[in-house]
Amino acid sequence: MRVLGIETSCDETGVAVYDTKQGLLGHALYSQTDIHAQYGGVVPELASRDHIRKLIPLIKTLLNESHTKPDEIDGIAYTAGPGLVGALLVGAAVGRSLAWTWQVPAIGVHHLEGHLLAAMLEEPAPSFPFLALLVSGGHTQLVEVAEIGKYIILGESVDDAAGEAFDKTAKLLGLGYPGGPALARLAEQGNPDAFNFPRPMTQRPGLDFSFSGLKTHVLTTWRAQTQNKQTRADIARAFEDAVIDTLAIKCRRALKQSGLTRLIIAGGVGANQRLRSRLGELAKEMSVSVYYPRPIFCTDNGAMIAYAGAIRLETGQSEPLAFNAYPRWPINELNYSVS
């Protein structure tokens, strides 16, 4: 089965063709970052306006580059939530009507399920069950993935998501928007011993996270110091270390508690190289295997939606002609079986 996937939940327009026999045949991405940067965050109405301009041209490019003819497409997958409702509706409207016209089934995909399954696009792909650390702009969760379609949240952030903490801290340090990757680059020049930030919620049991206190810590430290280039880098480094350490501590705990022997990383912060190598070390030490999507499939993309959609379409699931978008949609509400 060959599926066209469409992702428009936030500020990235992503499309891809995934074939259940041949794998990923192509993907294309357009990022709106430049549009929103001047406002210091995503402006929902501008995001929607840009998706509707870019989506069809992107699909055209994709079909050309992946040498896919329209009549070879057996199904359409679009992100139905969670995310920005206006942005989601663009992908849903285009996706559902493409499917209607071509008379093929359509499926509304859960954006986080896309992230969780992104590692399935790589070689080797993990087998089930596994523990997933989902660290994105909107979510920080430890999820037990028993099998495709069964997601149990073991722990999550009680306030800011890890990506959000990266972005807010970057903003405090004057690194612009979205600052996560910039902060990570700056941290490379930082002295790891200059500052030591707390590892929130690691002293008590449980698998929840809290990252909002860290940015306050960054701010008070920054204000108390001579504000030069090196201090900025040192603070970035201390912040990144604290986040990575906290994530690693909770991953270790979750692996121990659950007895799972595979760890997968998903979501935009998963593109962070130091997080990747840190979790690699942890996995080695605990004799578990670790899997990552390539960095471009950590952040929002069409490939993960095409994949998750293809799996569900193959089980015979599909959407009626009445389509919709679900801005808030907890992942544990998904419950289906592929076998």
């Binding site: 409207a93 493409l98 209607w100 016209t101 009445a322």
Partner: protein, 226 residues
């Protein structure tokens, strides 16, 4: 010609199928239900006519002004159909649709169309019928406060649209004796767009799927700090 027309620009949701002179249509007032209704409506109309979506020869839609989300629902659906069926699109103004319907229904030949744009503004356009019975905009369509509308120079005009329901007093005060009558509780409707769509196809005022885009009129959407 086999032409599908859809509109979700306002509280109304409608769809019409034109088959070489025959018209079938669906129309409901159903705020926030457009995504549930629009494709089932189109599917029903085509099924009744024994037509597959890929047999359509053209598609038209209410491109605005109107609710931003509503415009993008119709627009997204139309882009998908037009791209998948490889057919051209005729974008039709919501204000022109109101004017054309007023001509069809009441024989009004000069129409002042106003849609409530929220934020104390209206979407506004002045329309006159031409010798082919098609409503033409005689000025630019604008979004403005009811007191800032562009005025016709003379004549008797028929007011139409939700702007007339919300701001009748302001508009009448501005226009004085030029208002012949008005009908406030009226929404754009797909079937009333058919003459406009046929004219657009005849005149080549058509675009491909990716160029079928909403006309928002209101383009300042970010509150910038001053």
């Amino acid at each position: 010609m086999k032409l599908l027309v859809i509109d979700t620009a306002t509280e109304a949701c409608s769809c019409a199928l034109y088959l070489d002179g025959e018209i079938q249509d669906r129309y409901v007032i159903a705020p926030r239900q457009h995504t549930s209704l629009i494709l089932p409506m189109a599917d029903e109309l085509l099924a009744e006519a024994g037509l597959k979506p890929t047999q359509l020869e053209g598609i038209a839609f209410g491109c605005g002004p109107g609710s931003f989300t509503g415009l993008r629902i119709a627009c997204g659906v139309v882009q998908g159909i037009a791209f998948a069926a490889d057919i051209p699109v005729a974008p039709i103004s919501s204000l022109a649709a109101l004017a054309q319907a007023t001509y069809t229904k009441y024989g009004a030949v000069k129409v002042l169309a106003a849609i409530d744009a929220r934020m104390h503004e209206v979407y506004w356009g002045r329309y006159k019928i031409d010798d082919k019975d098609i409503m033409r905009c005689e000025s630019k369509e604008i979004v403005c406060a009811p007191n800032d509308i562009s005025l016709p120079s003379e004549g008797q005009w028929y007011g139409v649209g939700t702007g007339w329901a919300t701001y009748a007093e302001n508009l009448k005060a501005k226009l004085g004796k030029m208002v012949q009558d008005y009908q406030g509780k009226t929404y754009p409707q797909a079937s009333a767009m058919i003459p406009l769509a046929l004219a657009a196809f005849q005149e080549g005022k058509i675009v491909s799927a990716e160029d079928a885009l909403p006309v928002y009129l209101r383009n300042k959407v970010v509150q910038t700090r001053s």
